[in-house]
């Protein structure tokens, strides 16, 4: 950030000599920038606004008044009704379950993603290409064809009805995150490793002292993605969790809509909106690390 500011200042200083017309031009361009970004932003989040607004509409009128963004009257009943959940379990329980699964899996995905990525990105070893191909391959088979054999494995492990199938595999690395972190590690000049090695660092020391601080942006990205994807995943939960008391939010949301009977859309949109809050907060909390210039410090040394 500081560096960015200094750079800006330098630029500004060099432009101060320019005429006032230049200043106006700059102001105009900045205004145009904000107006355009905002306008386009509204288009981007319209569906989200629609969903949130719908959560304040009367359930039966949601689809009839789909054209109107703003509800005629704001109702909060959808939230109180939805929060009640079902089968004696409120959404409090479901949120708790979601947090447990999501946070555990994310810790696993981040830790394993970074460690394995370092192995692939920085070492030459026999069979590297083979294992890398295997890793890529895991992303190319549709889940539908592997889910039954996988279910059998978890069944043999006696993990059905626990959160283990939803969390433990993440501690062994997810291809997407491994590959992502690999790309960022490869972006770090190798001379830095070597310098540290000469200073007496082992590979493990290099990993913690050089690599980790340098790839904070990709670690943050991994956190955000893993959190979001685990939070949204309902199919794994549907397969492996049988008791309503252990359902996460994503699965509980499905219970509002049933094509063969009355669906409580109002409550569904209310709880869907609410379920976006943690994902949104995680993003807001972490994204600032993408703004501040953490990664540059290493290079200065």
């Amino acid at each position: 950030m500081e560096q960015a500011v200094t750079a800006d200042k330098k630029r500004n200083r060099s432009k101060q000599s320019g005429s006032t017309s230049k200043k106006i031009k700059k102001l105009a361009s900045s205004t145009i920038y904000h107006v355009l970004v905002t306008l386009f932003g509204i288009v981007m989040i319209y569906p989200l606004l629609w969903m949130i607004m719908s959560s304040f509409k009367e359930s039966s009128s949601i689809f009839r008044d789909a054209d109107n963004l703003i509800p005629e009257t704001f109702m909060f009943e959808n939230y109180t009704n939805g929060w009640k959940g079902f089968a004696d379990y409120s959404f409090g329980t479901f949120f708790k379950n979601s947090f447990l699964i999501t946070i555990t899996a994310t810790i696993g995905a981040v830790a394993s993603g970074v460690i394995i990525a370092y192995g692939f990105a920085r070492f030459q070893f026999k069979g590297k290409n083979f294992w890398f191909s295997c890793m890529m391959l895991t992303m190319m088979l549709p889940y539908q064809v592997v889910m039954i054999p996988q279910f059998l494995i978890f069944q043999k492990l006696n993990w059905i009805n626990t959160i283990l199938p939803l969390t433990v595999p993440h501690f062994f690395g997810q291809a997407f995150f491994i590959f992502l972190n690999m790309q960022f590690i490869k972006g770090i000049p190798k001379e830095m490793d070597e310098a540290a090695r000469i200073d007496g660092c082992s590979y493990y020391g290099v990993f913690t002292k050089i690599i980790l601080p340098m790839i904070v942006p990709s670690i943050i990205t991994t956190c955000i993605f893993s959190f979001m994807w685990r939070w949204d995943d309902f199919f794994g939960a549907l397969l492996y969790l049988n008791k309503p008391s252990s359902y996460p939010v994503s699965l509980a949301l499905k219970m509002f809509a049933d094509p063969s009977s009355q669906s409580d859309w109002g409550a569904m949109f209310a709880m869907s909106s609410l379920s976006l809050v943690p994902v949104f907060l995680i993003f807001i909390f972490f994204q600032k690390y993408l703004v501040e210039g953490i990664s540059t410090e290493g290079l200065k040394g």
Partner: protein, 309 residues
Amino acid sequence: MKKVRQQRKPSGGIRAVLCHEQAAGYVFIAPFIIGFMIFTIIPIIASFLLAFTDYDILSKPSFIGLDNFIKMFTADSKFIKSLEVTFFYAVVSTPLRLLMALVVAMILVRPSKLSAIYRAVYYLPSIIGGSVAVAVMWKQIFSSDGVINALLMSVGIPCEQSWLGNKNTAIWVLILLSVWQFGSSMLIFLAGLKQIPRTLYEAAIVDGAGKIQSFFKITLPLLTPTIFFNLVMQTINGFMAFTQSYIITGGKPLNSTLFYAFYLYQKAFTNYDMGYACAMAWVLLVIVASVTAILFKSSGRWVYYESKE
């Protein structure tokens, strides 16, 4: 365990160092190998073997040789159609989405008081992903009496077109939806941009380079690893696309939005033809793996790593 101990032993000589590196590499990727062995390899092999069987999930599979594959390419016009649709979708939507993500990331990397909010706003469509709300909205917007046609009308182009109902335009609506959800690629680009040392830009300014020059001389080359990553992942995702077909169009109209993965799902769980679905999965795997391999082969020419080996 043995490898770890070996690694810890102080060692000298080129040969020992090499061993050292070999071992350390395996130590770091060990979690992956273990997980792969426990959770992944068996399902993958099972799905491969099942591709040569008639397997209805509920009873025992029977070996039928290549019948599934023969049927696919000779007697299943929907299979061919879904392949075409998916190819088109992947090839068109991936570059568009990446371009969009890159442009917006470039715009939003500019520090401003509002940038946090802007980023959130542009990322949000990705958060709601494949929810019902999106499906409903998207149908609404592109319906014959929807927002798009109203807009066209207001600029003097009367249009009664049903964008999702027309077999030529329906796929474009889905492509647009995918481009709209560029948030995750954008985030990765932002992270990539963040990793580029500011010092390089400062040096460039001192050298008198303009914005455009420094974009092509610094930003773009240093961003290639990220671009490559996004390209590979989005291509794979494009081929594996499922949700939009599933929640918005159901493959209609006239199968013009029938994604491969969606057809596969129908085969497996609506028609209980898991053997056929497995065969389809492996055809898809071969295609996606080939495309990915080509991308990797090409990467040597245009992807620039600071740590060139």
